[in-house]
């Protein structure tokens, strides 16, 4: 797989002396890192302060004790907040499960079988990644309303159930990690074609499934344009949509916005800290295939 990627052992032999220009370079890189983290920091800090505290000068730079109030305010403005969280979770899990199954199945076929038009079909699959999503946005809304899927989670689950990037990742991994003899042996033993996939391939591709699962879950969790078009009622909103609806209704509840955003982002941060390397590999898999 391409994804030996970044982050391997550091280089040696660069000289260990520490001169002024190097020091400046380190300082720049580290202050850049602070700049990258600052918005997250303030998001968490503000989530624990009342709006009055947030709007004072200088702004608070350490945690306060108003998280409860902010959460209460959030629930007042978004009475379906827990539903929204639930729908986000449900949709993200369903999309992830579908992708793990369907992408690995297709990736397995592309990696291990010979069949007519295989190359052309694969190029076609990859080519679909080039289509910009916004072009299909308007008709997608129409299709969903014709199907009667407006306000239904399946309007977000079914179209996202199998993606080209996932197929690509799975094909790469299966082709490199699994010897074909294994399949022939299973065939001789009388295993069916689907049985081979289900009982031999699937248990062997855990790492790739983990990576694809993370990437898919995060993409679905963060999806905004999809729900924006198909979810009409507030109790069916996903988290990004619910958060967005806090804007522009009279007084902006900054503390509640930051509390809600923290709740929306925290699971991702935890996942990232636990599996950053795998996640980066997954997200850049299409890019680094050369």
């Amino acid at each position: 797989m391409s994804a030996t990627l970044a982050l391997q052992a550091p280089r040696r032999g660069n000289g260990t002396s520490f001169n002024a220009s190097q020091f400046i370079a380190y300082a720049i890189v580290l202050s850049g890192a602070v700049l990258m983290l600052a918005p997250f920091y303030f998001m968490f800090i503000f989530a624990t302060h009342s709006d009055r505290e947030i709007l004072s000068l200088p702004p608070p730079i350490w945690f306060g004790n108003h998280f409860d109030d902010n959460l209460k305010l959030l629930l007042e403005r978004l009475p379906h907040w827990w539903n929204n969280l639930g729908w986000s979770l449900y949709i993200a899990l369903a999309v992830t499960a579908a992708n793990l199954l369907l992408c690995s199945l297709a990736g397995y076929a592309f990696a291990m079988y010979e069949f007519r038009y295989k190359k052309q079909l694969f190029v076609f699959v990859m080519g679909t990644m080039l289509l910009p999503s916004f072009v299909g946005m308007i008709p997608t809304a129409l299709i969903m309303s014709w199907l009667g899927w407006m306000n239904e989670p399946k309007a977000l689950i079914v179209p996202a159930a199998c993606g080209a990037l996932g197929i690509f990742m799975m094909r790469q991994y299966i082709a490199s990690a699994i010897p074909r003899d294994l399949l022939d042996a299973a065939r001789i033993d009388g295993c069916s074609e689907f049985g081979i996939y289900f009982r031999i391939i699937l248990p062997l591709i855990g790492p790739a499934l983990g990576t694809l699962g993370l990437v898919t879950f995060i993409a679905s969790w963060n999806n905004f344009m999809g729900p924006l078009i198909v979810m009409r009622d507030m109790d069916m909103y996903t988290v990004p949509l619910a958060l967005r609806s806090l804007q522009g209704t009279g007084q902006t509840p900054w503390g509640a916005i930051c509390a809600g955003s923290s709740i929306a982002v925290l699971p991702l941060l935890v996942m990232f800290v636990m599996a950053s390397r795998r996640l980066i590999e997954g997200l850049t898999a299409g890019a680094v295939k050369a």
Binding site: G32, Y113, T140, I143, P159, L268, A287
Partner: protein
């Protein structure tokens, strides 16, 4: 998608199975890849074709399908010549694509090089921190940014005011708090957030490409007395050309369809005087606020053609030399 229904007579693929009958074994791969194609046909290809069809019609969805009027290229001539908001949103899109996009690469390339050469133990952590904005919800983080950018009490203005006290900075930093909602600042604010979100992504792309450069090359260059800058200029940049091409292509495609960040940062309105409205936002508003699906589809395809043209141009400028 055209699955061959005839048995494999010719020996196009002289491979494992030589049987001439269709059986489960030869059908299996087609079955396994079919979910993707079914989903793509229904929710990918059909919407695309239908939006082409729509773009040649005038139609208000409330009136039902029968009320569709064929108008030829009128939607296109309208947006190209008469739709001032479309022109403005295109200008905004291009402006922000450049102002947020160019610095992404100018920062990511040297940053990746530095991370590659230095930062032994902490490299993963630093890379992770820079990458973090890329994985987080753009809606949540844009909402947080709109807090940080508020005029009277925002952290951004407070930081500027604090830096203003220092003699080094005071000659170019403004003395008044900046009202980021004013048209002349909106695009800067959005561009900054976009830059912040994607600079780490590009850094990771460049870093992973650098890791494929053989170490011998750096060692040889060092032996020959090449400075860091010379190594960067004469070893890294030429070898990274394919990745630079790829990353720039992604930036062009992504930036020209910018939607979420400007949508949230301007509260869905495009901001005062529509200063932050992008072409994708214009399409959304035309379709779902004005209810004019035909014009909106024409906007979508005009934008698509712009993206295709810019990608082609980029290919001409950056992509060509590698493949001779």
């Amino acid at each position: 998608m055209s699955k061959p229904l005839t048995p494999e007579a010719s020996s196009v693929t002289p491979t494992v199975q030589r049987r001439k009958r269709w059986n489960l074994r030869t059908l299996a791969p087609y079955l396994f890849i079919s979910p993707f194609f079914v989903i793509f046909l229904v929710f990918g290809l059909f919407p695309l074709l239908f939006s082409v069809y729509l773009s040649f019609h005038r139609w208000e969805p409330a009136a039902g399908l029968a009320a569709m009027n064929f108008v030829g290229i009128e939607n296109y001539t309208y947006i190209l010549f008469d739709d001032d908001w479309f022109h403005k949103s295109l200008y905004n899109t291009g402006w922000m694509a450049i102002v947020s996009g160019v610095p992404q690469h100018l920062v990511a390339l040297p940053l990746a090089f530095f991370l590659h050469m230095a930062f032994r133990r902490w490299r993963n952590a630093v890379v992770g921190i820079y990458f973090l904005p890329f994985i987080t919800s753009s809606v949540a983080i844009s909402l947080v940014f709109s807090t940080l950018f508020s005029r009277d009490f925002g952290v951004v203005n407070a930081s500027i005011a604090a830096l203003q006290q220092l003699p080094v900075f005071n000659w170019f930093l403004p003395e008044q708090n900046i009202d980021w909602g004013q048209p002349q600042y909106t695009k800067w604010m959005i561009s900054f957030v976009v830059f912040w979100r994607y600079v780490g992504w590009n850094t990771v792309l460049y870093l992973s490409a650098m890791q494929t450069i053989p170490k011998d090359l750096f060692e040889a260059a060092t032996m020959d007395g090449a400075s860091r800058w010379q190594q960067f200029r004469h070893v890294v940049l030429p070898l990274l050309r394919p990745m630079i091409f790829f990353a720039v292509t992604l930036t062009i495609i992504g930036n020209l369809q910018l939607f979420e960040e400007p949508f949230i940062l301007t509260g869905g309105t495009g901001g005062i005087d529509q200063a932050g409205k992008t072409a994708a936002m214009h399409m959304y508003v035309t379709a779902f606020v004005d209810g004019d699906f035909g014009t909106a589809s024409a906007v979508a395809w005009a934008l698509f053609m712009l993206i295709a043209a810019m990608t082609w141009l980029n290919n001409k400028l950056l992509g060509q030399k590698e493949e001779k």
